[in-house]
Symmetry: C2
Subunit: 153 residues, 2 copies
DNA sequence: TTAGTACTGAAAACGGTTTTCATTTGCCCG
DNA sequence: CGGGCAAATGAAAACCGTTTTCAGTACTAA
């Protein structure tokens, strides 16, 4: 994976080249210091609060697209119509346990699907290239908080 | 799970009650005879081609919501911004292998996550209540079709 | 400096989904 | 046999995250 700085010449015709533009660097900085998953809007607001001339929403989206393609960021879809993003080690990815009450999430330390690829390949003759896996439920604290009276959520 | 016919009196305040309305029955009929996953639009067009006074798109969406809540239908999100639906045995669910080229999909015959719930519970003290899992790649035919020259898609 | 290309931002377009609201439907009950 | 009501319905508008358009800017190479 060859990450260069912006403005070299490339002949790719995509929306933008796969280089770290100024905007993309700022976006990456935000993600670097965030543990939780961030939406494009989250990132945009974060930048608005700290930059004198923050990148616009459009640039944030475009930067995220590049960063995802570079393998520095993964996008996560919880099926709620809003994509979230987070940093990953280049080329890696992981999944989450997402608490339905407090909305916090923890990374799973291993990819459960990867282990299954071989058997899926064998059984279905299907070449696995990607997957979505997110798990929802209640984290420890929220379980306790709900235990006394079965209300809320 | 108590599925009744429409127009009984209920005191739920949701968008609509959890009964099989006329529209919902038509929607269910479409899903009943479809193997592939269908979007709301798919279902709507299917009905337009065969009903004299087909339910509108709005009703299709509302029906799907009820059917999902009744456990008769599951909604599937591939992260491409369009939800698909399919019939399931009440209370059950399953996942798919989706071919990225021909877009066909096959059901997995068992839920891979269910088997993991116990260990997730033990390791993370997390109470699993739901999950998203979809696997993308190439089906057998499309692998072969792409083998000769590595073009396409 | 100049030319060329990538980057950027504002606004508009997009597309699936949801909401609004006025109308219709069908059951209950007198 | 209606009248009354709550639920269901449809058309149109609103929503909302995301993408596209397009004109202006910034950077790099030469």
């Amino acid at each position: 994976m060859n990450v260069q700085s912006s403005h070299g010449h490339s002949h790719s015709k995509g929306p933008q080249s796969l280089r770290l533009t100024k905007g993309a660097k700022k976006v990456l900085e935000v993600l670097e210091r965030t543990d939780e998953l961030s939406s494009a809007q989250d990132i945009h607001s974060a930048l608005r609060n700290e930059e004198d001339s923050p990148p616009g929403l459009t640039t944030v989206y475009r930067s995220l697209e590049s960063l995802v393609q570079l393998g520095l960021v993964q996008s996560v879809d919880f099926g709620d119509g809003e994509r979230r993003y987070e940093m990953v080690k280049p080329g890696e990815h992981h999944h989450h346990l997402v608490c339905e009450k407090c909305r916090n999430s923890v990374h799973l330390d291993q990819c459960l699907v990867q282990q299954l690829e071989e058997s899926i390949q064998a059984k279905y003759k299907f070449e696995v290239r990607g997957h979505i896996l997110e798990i929802f439920g209640l984290c420890e604290q929220c379980q306790q908080a709900m235990a006394p009276a079965g209300k809320n959520q």
